[in-house]
Amino acid sequence: MTDVLTPVLTDNWDADRAWTLSSYESRGGYAALRTALTMSPDDVIAAVKDSGLRGRGGAGFPTGMKWSFIPQDNPNPKYLVVNADESEPGTCKDIPLMMASPHTLVEGVIISSFAIRANKAFIYVRGEVLHVVRRLQRAVQEAYLAGHLGSNIHGSGYDLDLVVHAGAGAYICGEETALLDSLEGRRGQPRLRPPFPAVAGLYASPTVINNVESIASVPSIIANGADWFSSMGTEKSKGYGIFSLSGHVNKPGQYEAPLGITLRQLIDLAGGMRNGHQLKFWTPGGSSTPLLNSEHLDVPLDFEAVGEAGSMLGTRALQIFDETTCVVRAVLRWTEFYKHESCGKCTPCREGTWWLTQTLARLEKGQGSEEDLELLLDQCDNILGRAFCALGDGATSPITSSIKYFRADYLAHLEQGGCPFDPMASTVFAVEGASA
């Protein structure tokens, strides 16, 4: 029986100067790299495939399979690009990982690049996290000096250069093809697929793009074996993952557990909902994953079960809201975010997110009518599945799911001619009986 929490990626975060090479190596760091360099690249790919690791950036595509799509007979250079553009509202796992233990990621990058035969790799990190950029820069510098990067790594004949590349503030660049355009020095706008990045990615060359946590999981798989990894988790969602609890729980933070843990278990670990309050709604994996409510406390948090419950596991970004929260205000704010972040390439998303915002803002002010709910659903229907990437789809998730579960909240705004909730009551500094 696996333990409730299984720290692997987070296990050295409490170490003294955990971000340094000496700390990382004193706990066995870079041993997996030396093991991998004695293997054939195909065997490394096979190990990751056999482990059942699925992408930790939200979509859950099998990582080893993604790697095997790289056409090795393509004469162009191969590239590995790490998606460290963590920007999905609620998602806050990769940033603390890179701050505390950047070498876990760097070691994963080297092993993964070796597997796909890339000699150049990039970490595309969002620009708005200065200290994380510093820690990555330092880790890469240390890895070069130790011979983990550069030419003829540890006498293997394998060469790898790694560049830390800071973005400049655009949620859309977390979408992998927009990230590639951005890394090519362009506006970050998604590309039409096919061709997929595995065939024509960065500089139209074969490219693997993986999330930070996916790549950071690779050293543990090489060190302990595919069977070890797949002994954790559920039938089709193997391994461990970081679950990020935020909002109205007593102890928000990072909880690393096998996939399949439930929100009830996690809230219990987090000391329960803040005192005297009850769960109202939550996102399983960021704002683009449809809202769930207290009926879903026992849904196993894996790709399949959350899907069956009508949402998506996403990035395990559990934003938890209690009964003091106005769902209309929450959804309007997310919608304003999608409007701001829509790259403008596809009409349904560019125009649709503006219409959604206007309709929602009217409802939030207690204006409009019940028919506006049908209008919103119709607008969502005209966005979902009609754009190049998933941003527009994500924008519809909070709206359709909130109308499904919290229609009464919307109607209360119309009945009262405004928001019936006190915005002070939901804050962390709320004082009993005070109001904003």
């Binding site: 760091g29 041993a31 090519e184 543990s220 928000p252």
Partner: protein, 225 residues
């Protein structure tokens, strides 16, 4: 006016990449560190180095929110008002700071010290409500602590990130983002308190990954266990 040293550094950035245009985003960060904003001279220089048109560079500079077309103060104060932080108090913090500093969104105080902006989710939701100063974390803020924070910044007092080093100026921060490190990587903790709550519970209960000793970096099994 872009001097020869800056031009050389811009060329150095472009040379990091297999195709030099890939350097444009960090190059624009460097322009900001030197010019205090994106300027026509900076755009022209980037365009010359990359052999693309100034219009293409402008198209990129206007796409990303971190690039500013108006002068930014010494301290860019970003209040997260995405849903989670907003609900937890970010909206009230932003209102308080607008009132306290007497500026609107994306405006700078008369002394040129503080530029206030509301920002989107900055991946620190477990520390909500969050304020960023020059893209360093100021975790778990209240309207009072945020007002004190901007007062300290304007008074020239040294301010330290809750999970990082002393706050450098916006221009100095932009230079790091351009890929020129400032040697502050070793300052600050490995992790803030919220990042460690799950790990601490696991430690208290003796929970580990299967067959793994506590505290190994890649979860390596220990033979002697």
């Amino acid at each position: 006016m872009i001097d020869s040293q800056t031009r050389a550094e811009l060329e150095e950035i472009a040379a990091r990449y297999p195709q030099k245009r890939s350097g444009l985003l960090p190059m624009l960060h460097l322009v900001q560190s030197v010019e205090g904003q994106i300027t026509p001279a900076g755009i022209e220089t980037c365009a010359e180095i990359l052999d693309i048109s100034a219009a293409e560079v402008s198209g990129v500079a206007t796409f990303y929110t971190m690039y500013k077309r108006r002068p930014v103060g010494d301290y860019h104060v970003g209040v997260c008002t995405n849903t989670l932080c907003a609900i937890m108090g970010g909206d009230l913090i932003f209102e308080r700071l607008k009132d306290h500093l007497d500026v609107g969104n994306d405006e700078t105080t008369d002394d040129g010290k503080v530029t206030l902006e509301h920002v989107e989710c900055n991946a620190a939701c477990d520390y909500a409500p969050v304020v960023m100063v020059n893209w360093e974390f100021m975790d778990n803020q209240t309207p009072e602590s945020a007002a004190q924070l901007v007062d300290d910044l304007r008074a020239g007092k040294e301010v330290t990130s809750t999970r990082g080093p002393r706050i450098v100026t916006w221009r100095e921060a932009e230079r790091v983002l351009a890929g020129f490190p400032d040697d502050l990587a070793d300052d600050g903790p490995a992790a803030g308190p919220a990042s460690l709550v799950g790990l601490q519970i696991a430690r208290q209960n003796g929970w580990t990954a299967p067959g793994v000793s506590t505290g190994s970096t890649t979860g390596q099994r220990e033979d002697d266990q």
